[in-house]
């Protein structure tokens, strides 16, 4: 007993004990840094080199097709440097330009190959590394990459307006009719919204995972979707708490219903960002069938999103300008998404943004859920269950109308 207390006292009186917390932390960090440097200098030599051959991996982050030219943006996703020796397209060696043959770990490089490709045909670009390894990149159907000029931006803005803003605002036109609903039917309407949102979340997650798995990217695959979802969920939860607190301080700042509608609009907006991204990417590689079918399909599909936004507002009377604002928040990101998708066309970024959409929607569902409770406090009564199912089915069926 005595010995132990003595030790404790001894420690408490020591120099360490009297140092402030930040100094202790700084000291520990310095020690860690010194140990890492020592490990890097000495430890590396103590271990043998990898026994196998170098692991050479390149991911193609972007493909640009111009007449007689195929340009690939490459990123080294493997542990070792990759040196490009030669390149062939569909079994014919080609001349190419690149600023550096050697691409270090996580480094990127652009390679431009001289090849008279034909519209609509499939191509396999093969890069032969210095060790003879062949890294292949498939172009399913060659289509000239749209130039990022004014016409292109105009077209993407139009596309985003058609598939994002217009349908959402159309859906919001149902608000006056929904105001006539009884309290019980408003709950059912909110349940329908949960069904709609749930399906959107599932849809976005699956699409994001599919993209992530196909990317082979340096910055990860599936985890990007979950990371995006988690970050969005936490950010929106924080935003909601902040708005709640502000509303508490200034009673005039807005109602609970409007705040919920705003959160739904933000969630749907983030989802539409991902949707716009998919549309833009599909357009860039020539896979998007533009025209009436796409516009009508999205209109029907996304009109349901408008209903979801106004569902919390049936007991309130916000100004038309505020309603339009909600519509813009939910719909306009489709424009930004289409622009980004068509001009960057990066699978990893798309997966991450889709993940953000998923997290945002899940957060909105969590927000709406309490409003579904009946007088007995149950969320899932028969009517709500049927409405959730109906919402999910509605999106599934209208989703069949649009294929990207």
């Amino acid at each position: 007993m005595e010995a132990r207390s003595e030790t404790r006292d001894g420690f408490g009186d020591s120099l360490l004990g009297r140092l402030p917390g930040w100094a202790l932390a700084a000291g520990a960090l310095a020690l860690i840094a010194a140990a890492l440097v020592a490990l890097a200098l000495a430890g590396g030599d103590a271990l043998p080199e990898r026994s196998g051959p170098p692991v050479e991996e390149l991911a193609v982050e972007r493909t640009v097709l111009e007449p007689n030219r195929i340009e690939l943006s490459l990123r080294n996703t493997g542990p070792d440097a990759v040196e490009i020796g030669q390149a062939f397209v569909n079994d014919a060696y080609v001349d190419f330009e690149t600023s550096a043959n050697r691409i270090g770990r996580l480094g990127s490089e652009t390679i431009a190959l001289a090849y008279p490709w034909q519209e609509g045909q499939p191509y396999v670009v093969s890069l032969v590394t210095s060790t003879g390894v062949v890294i292949e990149h498939e172009i399913a159907a060659a289509v000239e990459t749209p130039a990022a000029d004014g016409d292109f931006f105009g077209l993407m803005a139009l596309l985003g307006t058609y598939v994002g803003i217009i349908p959402v605002v159309l859906g919001m036109l149902l608000l006056p009719a929904m105001r006539r609903f009884s309290h019980r039917w408003v709950r059912v309407l909110l349940a329908l919204t949960v069904g709609l949102l749930g399906f959107l979340a599932l849809d976005g997650a699956l699409e994001g995972l599919e993209l992530a798995n196909g990317s082979g990217g340096a910055f990860g695959g599936a985890e990007l979707v979950f990371l995006g979802a988690g970050l969005a969920f936490l950010a929106l939860t924080g935003l909601d708490r902040y708005l709640e607190a502000r509303r508490g301080r200034a009673a005039a700042a807005g109602s609970r219903g409007f705040q919920l509608a705003l959160m739904v609009a933000i969630g749907i907006g983030l989802h539409n960002l991902g949707e716009g991204l998919a549309i833009g990417s599909a357009y860039a590689v020539g896979e998007l069938a533009l025209g009436a079918f796409l516009v009508i399909g999205f209109a029907i599909h996304n009109t349901t999103e408008g209903i979801a936004i106004v569902a919390p507002l049936t007991r309130e009377r916000p100004a038309p300008a505020r309603l339009l604002g909600l519509g813009m928040i939910a719909g306009a990101p489709a424009i930004a998404g289409a622009l980004v998708g068509a001009s960057i066309d990066n699978a990893e970024l798309s997966a991450f943004l889709l993940g953000i959409g998923v997290g945002a929607i899940v957060q909105v569902i969590v927000q709406i859920a309490p409003a579904l409770r009946d007088s007995a406090g149950r969320v899932l009564d028969a009517a709500n269950a049927a409405a959730i199912a109906a919402g999910a089915l509605a999106l599934y069926l209208t989703g069949l109308l649009v294929t990207i």
Binding site: N68, D91, V94, V128, S130, G132
Partner: protein, 369 residues
């Protein structure tokens, strides 16, 4: 001895007539193949190194040309990256020199009146630059791909000492007539020659014609595909008419080692080589091409020449041509002699008319002067 000098003399004159000197390659080989022991064994007399080393520097000056085909949009034909070529010096051989490099060995007349020819062949592992910036861990005979072109006359006694300097077991299996023990396959005669070991293959040169040799250790396809093959020419007793003679070995490199086709196709070692360094020939002069196909993994190969036709002697075992054509198909180990004259001056392509192979490296030019 007299006979040996005579033989070499004739061949040397032919080579000079063709505008080529074999010695530079041999000198290069001499520099690159590890064979210190051989010098001692031969008492310092090494005929293949007879010519001055350094003469190859001149021929290298023309080696680094811009490929004829790079026009920036890809329509002028396949090419390696513009302005690049392999380092022939580091490789230790140059396809331009291999073309007219015939190795008659050390020859002497025996008491019986018969000619004995002896060669020293060394198996060696070697990292080759098979395309600019692309290396290939080759298994070679005497440090080059294809291996040396061994040439003799019908009825000669041949003695080939094979020393395995590679890390892998190898043999030399000759096409031709010989006893079973000299067949160069596992478990028969000397069987597999393990690393560091050597053996002597001895047999009579028959029948006359165009043959080949290659390693016969399993996995056979890989031992061949890695580069262990060469041409074996048995001249008829009365010889063939005077001509500008050259050997063309059709082969490939499966750089991914997946045993499914090749990433590079070539004649005489380096893809697209004769696009950058056209084969120089003279108008109206007789040209004889010893054409051999050792391509692994692909069922056929072919040879086509532009603006010309040739008489074709399958396997070279008959002195009468079987065909007058501009394209022949060869399966693996098939070979034949092409005899032709170029009626017009200028550049004329030759390539596999399996055009996939052509675009992956098996194409070149004759420059008719």
């Amino acid at each position: 001895m007299a006979d040996r000098k005579d033989d070499r003399g004739i061949s040397r004159r032919k080579l000079l007539a063709g505008g080529m000197v074999a010695a530079p390659t041999l000198a290069l080989l001499h520099e690159t193949v590890p064979h210190q022991g051989l010098h001692r064994a031969l008492g310092g007399d090494h005929p293949t190194a007879a010519s001055a080393a350094g003469s190859h520097a001149g021929s290298h000056a023309t080696a680094d040309g811009v490929p004829l085909h790079a026009n920036g949009v890809g329509t002028a034909g396949p090419t390696f990256r513009a302005g690049e070529s392999v380092d022939h010096r580091a490789n230790g051989f140059n396809p331009t020199e291999i073309l007219r490099d015939f190795d008659y060995g050390r020859a002497r007349r025996l008491a019986s009146g018969r000619v004995l020819r002896e060669w020293e062949i060394v198996g060696a592992d070697k990292e080759l630059e098979v395309a600019p910036g692309v290396s290939f861990p080759a298994w070679t005979y005497n440090g080059r791909v294809p291996g040396p072109t061994l040439r003799c006359r019908e009825g000669d006694l041949l003695r080939i000492r094979f020393t395995n300097g590679s890390q892998h077991p190898h043999t030399m299996h000759f096409h031709g007539l010989h006893p079973a023990a000299m067949d160069g396959i596992p478990d028969v005669g000397a069987g597999i020659i393990e690393p560091g070991k050597s053996t002597v293959y001895e047999f009579e040169a028959e029948p006359f014609g165009l043959h080949l040799y290659h390693c016969h250790v399993a996995p056979l396809a890989e031992h061949i595909a890695r580069g262990m093959y060469g041409t074996f020419i048995v001249d008829p007793k009365r010889g063939r008419p005077e001509a500008d003679e050259m050997v063309m070995v059709q082969h490939g490199y499966n750089t991914t080692f997946d045993a499914e086709g090749n990433q590079l196709y070539a004649v005489n070692g380096i893809p697209f080589h004769y696009m950058n360094e056209p084969v120089q020939v003279r108008r109206a002069e007789p040209v004889r091409i010893y054409l051999v196909n050792v391509l692994e993994y692909d069922p056929i190969n072919s040879f086509h020449i532009h603006g010309n036709f040739f008489h074709y002697y399958p396997t070279g075992t008959s002195l009468e041509p079987s065909d007058f054509t501009d394209t022949v198909i060869q399966g693996q180990a098939q070979r034949g002699i092409c005899e032709l004259r170029f009626p017009h001056a200028g550049p004329f392509m030759f390539h596999a008319h399996k055009t996939e192979f052509a675009e992956l490296g098996w194409m070149g030019f004759f420059e008719v002067g």
